[in-house]
């Protein structure tokens, strides 16, 4: 192999058909409301941990459905489970249970961001 000083860069494209659906299906079984998100961002805006970190539950939910959970799971490490997001969610999603369930279904990579 020749080193040209540059090489193929990994694609940034989301390939949703390759998403690990069994995992999401398991999450959906534990917390069926996960599909109710309308991406309004209220959770992110009101997040207690969001004052100090990049935490965005909206992004986490989306990333799970796009197979990019690795990028966002570390955010959940910062969650204090205070429940503000649950209070503001217009769809009435049980966000705390969702977060707890994500922790049981998805495994975070060992190296944290």
């Amino acid at each position: 192999m020749i080193d040209f000083g540059y090489g193929l860069t990994p694609s940034a494209t989301l390939k949703i058909e390759k998403v690990d659906n069994p995992l999401f299906a398991e999450l959906h079984r534990l917390e069926p409301d996960v599909t109710k998100c309308i991406a309004c961002g209220s959770c992110t805006a009101s997040c207690s941990a969001g004052v100090f970190t990049e935490m965005s539950l909206r992004r986490v939910i989306l990333s799970l459905q796009r197979g990019r959970e690795k990028e966002t799971l570390p955010m959940l490490q910062h969650c204090m489970l205070c429940g503000k997001c649950q209070l503001v969610c217009p769809r009435g999603i049980n966000t705390r249970h969702l977060i707890l369930s994500i922790g049981k279904v998805y495994k975070m990579e060992d190296k944290a961001l």
């Binding site: 207690s48 100090f52 204090m80 205070c82 429940g83 049980n94 249970h97 707890l100 922790g103």
Partner: protein, 607 residues
Amino acid sequence: MMKERILAAYDPFVLPFVFGMTFVLAYCLVALVKVLIQLKPADRQKFFLSLITPATIVKNIRDLFCDCLFHVKLWKRNKVLGYMHSSIAFGWFMIILLGHVETVLYIPERLHKLYYPIFFRYFMEVKGETLQGSFFFFLMDFFLLVILSGITIAIIKRFRSRIVGMRRTTKLTLTDRIGLYSLWAIFPLRWIAEGFTAGVAGGSFMTIPINWLLHNFMSKPENFTAAWWAYSIALGTFMTVLPFTRYMHIPAEILLIPMRNAGLPVRHTRKGFALAMLYSCPSCGVCIDACPMGVQKKNVQDATVYMVRNLKRRNPKRSLEIAEKCLMCGKCAALCQVQMDACGLRLAYRTSHEKEHNRIPADFGYLEAVDPLPQLGEQKVLYYAGCMSSLTPVISRSVQQVLKAAGVDYELMDKDGSICCGRPLMLSGRQEEARKLIEKNRQLIEESGARILLVSCAICYRIFKEQYDLIGVEVMHYTEYFNRLIKEGRLHVRNGHQTLVYHDPCDLGRGCGIYDAPRQALRAVGQLVPAAKEREESICCGGSVGSLTLRYEDREPITRGALDNLTANNPEQIVTACPLCLKTFSRFAPVPVADFAEVLAQNLEQA
């Protein structure tokens, strides 16, 4: 023949009883050893120490009599049920006691035979009547009558529970049924058996008429052995199945009471103290009616009694479901006859489940960068509004309005967003993670030099009280603090003459025992009317962060149920002292819902 049985002091019919009794004693002994071994060494030491501490000894004895024999708590709650339980428990206890007294008095050499005092009337013959003898005959028959009256109520209750004031009762298991029917059978059979022998062995107002009836009309005297056999079999059956039935609570409570009084925590879902609790559950079903989730039929199976049952049966799926669904309002525990730590059990389950299954470890490293608090004013009052209060700004605004009116100089701890108090994490089973938040908050508070930490959220208040161990800081809920300010004459309020009903937030009332301070303060600003059920029987608003799995749509009926309870006396306003209750009630309330501080702020006396 009669001579023989008196001389031999034995008959094969005693065997069922002897077997049952031996079995149950052995089982209890093993269970006792198991419980003690499973305790953490420190807990065990604490327990043993408590057994020789005079104060706890007194308490233990009092509790044993009041709870196990007289069922004082149940009397207070329901006279019929109280009578039913204490008649059987105390009556039986007295019959056993008197049987032994008789044996000691008359045939002390037979005392070593386990069965002798129980079947005393079979093995003795009255030679001549003595006053003492008649007295015992009378007492024995009297307590037999007491027990039989209790059994009668029990039978009626089983078929028509509403007559004794219970809406719902537990479903019995098969072994429970065997235990129950054998228990029902014991005393009527004893009555018949003693009736048979009353002619020889003596008797009183209960047994003599039966003896007369049996001998003259109903049976041949030869059948008496069969009657004693039946009595012994009923006893033996009851004893043998007892460890596998709810009647295990009878022996278990004797252990539970001292353990509870020793102040042991629940550390595991079915070991040590928890095991003693599981054994102690009488499956009475009081928790079913107590549970606020009971407004929906599908939740009935999630009451504490079923939690206990599933833990006993090692059904992890159902145990987890029940453990996670609970609102942790603590009402079932408050009403529980054996003071089961229902929330503790569930929390222990959640904790072990989280530890085992959570694969996203928490990281609160970012808290290190949080700035220290600003310098406090002279009075050193630090006000922590909490996460929820930022979604109910009326609370923090009103609190500050009241503080200013009372001339309190204070500092708001969480102006730029709060670090959560940690209770929601704890309730989710993340104990160690919660510790990190607690440590950070404690550091911030202690470094600020605060003397009073004022809290306007019941959830936060409870954890500050229970887990923080703040040195030199008095943690006060705003209901306590404002009540104190009014009493001290620092806060001047006027009475707006509005009728108010006060809702006891779970964590504030049952959690921390604060019932009077808010009521006293509210009486100063309005006319307080009672709710249908209040204080320790108050009903959770349904918004609790305690429940992990309860869906939004399933919370609404709970909220509506709680509102019906609050509005029983048509108040003009509902007052609560927790941001979560406020927000939850506001959604469905038929009358305005206000926060405690808001009501005070509206009724400030203008200087």
